[in-house]
């Protein structure tokens, strides 16, 4: 359940940003992460509901930009968006591929503040 640690770090970051930029209330937090990074959106929301009360982000909306898994296929000579967890080209089925996207770590992209 690393989502709890991630949310705790996120809330500390938001408090620091509030002190630095002079806001107190956050309405929306936009987060991004890769689909293959083993971050679970539901667990993030649950951890946020547990941890946010009492902070400036209490009651805020979480918006997720989930980045797809991407494989470069040597046979197609193209980047392909993964449609399953199988590490093979979703178009030609080839296994001469390299993962080029989808394990991006959780980032705070943007806040909407009052």
């Amino acid at each position: 359940m690393h989502e709890l640690s991630l949310i705790q770090s996120l809330l500390e970051m938001v408090e620091e940003l509030g002190a630095e930029k002079g806001f107190q209330r956050v309405g929306v937090l936009r987060l991004s992460f890769g689909r293959l990074s083993c971050v679970d959106p539901q667990a993030l929301r649950f951890a946020f509901d547990v941890e946010a009360p009492g902070t400036g982000a209490a009651g805020a909306e979480l918006v997720f930009d989930i980045l797809p898994g991407v494989l470069y296929c040597f046979a197609c000579e193209e980047e392909r968006t993964m449609t399953s967890h199988e590490l093979q080209c979703p178009v030609c089925g080839g296994r001469q591929v390299i993962l080029t996207g989808g394990t991006e770590e959780l980032k705070l992209m943007e806040l909407e503040v009052d």
């Binding site: 500390e12 940003l17 930029k21 929306v28 083993c38 590490l87 394990t103 959780l106 992209m109």
Partner: protein, 221 residues
């Protein structure tokens, strides 16, 4: 009236900063730090026992043992006459940069060449938390199945070497060794792969020889 504030920052930024401080300290002290990761029961402690026995004549070694609770693993390492500090994470599923920093006063790293950090058994979270290590090494054991690279890509992607352990069990388990290696290399084309058995000792020499070369390279910098 709400305002948008652009941030674009890693959520684990605070941990990354602590880990960077650890890394500077380890570089100053010339300690080679290995972050050892795997699922529970893959053989982290067994690999440590074997590796320590092989290298303790050459290098001064220390170990940080991370466990959710208990000291079974730390007791096994201490039996080899190696300084060991236990971190009980108290439920947390990984070791972070701060836990390592707090454990350091319990070890005399001035008199140390090689420090192993045995992470909590888990294929998800430890991959995300930098602790300031020189390299991450992961173990996959054959009974776990060859589907693990595809299921836990980050761990394979962030490791320098993959140790496939329990190869003595290959005749008894349905583990597709070629698929495991192929998928691991799709995730991380630079990954080094060692096939070993901590029980029989097969393949161990290749691993310890390689590790020895890495430590020698750092020590002579």
């Amino acid at each position: 009236m709400s305002t948008k504030v652009t941030v674009v920052k890693n959520v684990l930024d605070a941990n990354d900063r602590l880990a960077a401080e650890n890394r500077t300290l380890f570089a100053d002290k010339k300690v080679f730090v290995v972050n050892l990761m795997s699922s529970p029961g893959a053989g982290k402690t067994s690999l440590l026992e074997r590796t320590i026995q092989e290298l303790q004549g050459t290098w001064k070694i220390g170990v940080i043992e991370g466990d959710i609770q208990d000291t079974y693993d730390a007791d096994r390492i201490a039996a080899l006459d190696i300084p060991v500090v236990q971190i009980n994470t108290g439920g947390a599923c990984h070791i972070d940069g701060n836990m390592v920093r707090e454990a350091l006063p319990g070890l005399n790293i001035d008199a140390m060449d090689l420090l192993f950090v045995e992470n909590v058994g888990n294929l998800v979270c430890p991959a995300e938390f930098d602790i300031g290590e020189e390299m991450k090494i992961m173990i996959l054991s054959t009974p776990e199945g060859a589907d693990k690279p595809a299921k836990y890509p980050l761990m394979f992607q962030s490791s320098t070497a993959l140790i496939i352990n329990k190869i003595d069990l290959l005749p008894y388990v349905s583990f597709d060794l070629e698929k495991a290696k192929r998928d691991a290399l799709i995730l991380n084309p630079k990954l080094l792969i060692f096939e070993i058995s901590c029980k029989t000792g097969d393949g161990l020499k290749d691993w310890t020889r390689w590790l020895n070369e890495q430590i020698t390279a750092l020590a002579s910098k």
